[in-house]
């Protein structure tokens, strides 16, 4: 059994059997078949195959159509392509979060470096007992005999942070940052404060007093 050497004609035989050729091509192929036993035999085989497989089971078109998913009506301009993968969304969200957190951290660090001192900004200055001071004698530094803490705080500018009666100053920054002139000015301010009379504190003792509960037992 031989095949026809005219490949172009052989390739058109299935279309001829299916009846899908245009008139001109069909006439050309049929002329070739009239003089080619191999192609005539092959065309006969093709028709047999088509005939053998022409039987198909019935299909319930309505049932199939009813089982189909409904079309999702998208609004004008909506994304109509395949859905964007969720992992892309997560990556974008993670990147935005990182940028936000990083930016916030940088902003906070910058704010700290410009506005707040890097370490404890207060310096405790022991109270000076001016009542016992006498001309020509140094004042006694330390707690008063009553144990009342009169620790004062001063700030960097030397300006009292609290009203004079409380005699406390806040001191911003460390002593290491100050030059000699500033230190002298600070000490001068302290002397001025020491010469001022200290009013007795009118604030109640902040120490909480626990109530005494009598249980009735000795």
């Amino acid at each position: 059994m031989f095949d026809c050497a005219n490949v172009e004609m052989r390739e058109l035989l299935p279309e001829l059997a299916a009846g899908t050729l245009d008139d001109a091509t069909r006439a050309r192929v049929e002329r070739h078949i009239g003089s080619c036993a191999e192609c005539a035999s092959e065309l006969e085989t093709l028709r047999l195959v088509r005939s053998a497989y022409a039987v198909t089971p019935t299909v319930d078109v309505r049932r199939i159509a009813a089982a189909l998913p409904k079309a999702v009506l998208l609004p004008e301009g909506a994304h109509k392509g395949p859905p964007v993968k969720r992992w892309v969304d997560w990556r974008v969200a993670a990147a935005l979060t990182m940028i936000s957190v990083g930016g916030l951290s940088l902003a906070l660090a910058h704010r700290r470096s410009t506005e707040a001192p890097p370490r404890d900004s207060t310096v405790a200055v022991p109270s000076v007992d001016t009542s016992s001071a006498q001309p020509g004698k140094p004042a006694v530094v330390g707690s008063p005999p009553g144990g009342h803490d009169t620790t004062r705080r001063i700030n960097r500018s030397g300006v009292p942070a609290t009203p004079p009666p409380k005699a406390q100053l806040a001191f911003a920054g460390g002593m290491d940052d100050m030059d000699d002139t500033s230190i002298k000015a600070l000490l001068g301010a302290l002397d001025e404060m020491d010469r001022a009379p200290v009013a007795p504190s009118e604030e109640p003792d902040p120490t909480p007093v626990l109530p005494v509960i009598k249980t009735g037992q000795p």
Binding site: P14, T45, Y53, T56, T58, V59, I64, A71, L73
Partner: protein
């Protein structure tokens, strides 16, 4: 039960793409027209792939799967070619599942034997029986290519798309299949 079917050619003369557009716009009759237009060919193809039972169900599953992902249909090929591709994959998946259930029984051997028996019931003509027997002796891929080309009139390019091969390979499979069928019938 398998019986002679009439092709449900829809009265709608719209192209497949027009019907798809109408279905997307909410016209459910367009979906019915598409099913009526392509279901018979899909049923034939299912049988030619050795699907002996549940052909209706396979065709339905094919349409359901296709309509579920119709947004991914790019119209680079015809809708029928795309449906063939989906159905072929569906049937192969079913066969793999059946093969697991049947514990290493050769699917191709079983299909070749029982498929012919089943089809033999509906084919009375002796010549047609011989043709079917000849086609059933082809390898699975040869048979798919051969029947897609002969029965469904697909081009080599379309056949290659359905079976996941190249156009050249589809051509070779077709000619080898044709030679084998002719030898079986006439030698």
């Amino acid at each position: 039960m398998t019986r002679m079917a009439q092709d449900h050619e829809p009265n709608d003369d719209s192209t497949d793409l027009e019907l798809i557009a109408r279905w997307k716009a909410g016209d459910e009759r367009a979906a019915t027209s598409l099913v009526a237009r392509h279901a018979p060919a899909l049923a034939r193809f299912a049988i030619s792939l050795g699907q002996r039972t549940d052909v209706d169900e396979v065709v339905q599953d094919t349409f359901v799967r296709a309509f579920g992902s119709l947004h991914s249909f790019r119209a680079d090929s015809s809708l029928r070619t795309w449906l063939f591709t989906i159905q072929r994959r569906l049937i192969l998946d079913r066969r793999r599942s059946e093969r697991r259930r049947r514990d290493d029984t050769s699917v191709d051997d079983v299909d070749a034997a029982t498929e012919f028996d089943a089809l033999d019931e509906i084919v009375a003509d002796e010549a047609e029986s011989r043709v079917k027997k000849a086609v059933d002796q082809l390898s699975r891929l040869q048979k798919e290519v051969f029947l897609l080309r002969v029965n469904e009139g697909l081009s080599y390019k379309e056949v290659a798309e359905v079976v996941g091969s190249t156009e050249g390979a589809a051509r070779v499979h077709y000619h080898n299949a044709m030679r084998a069928v002719k030898e079986s019938l006439y030698v």
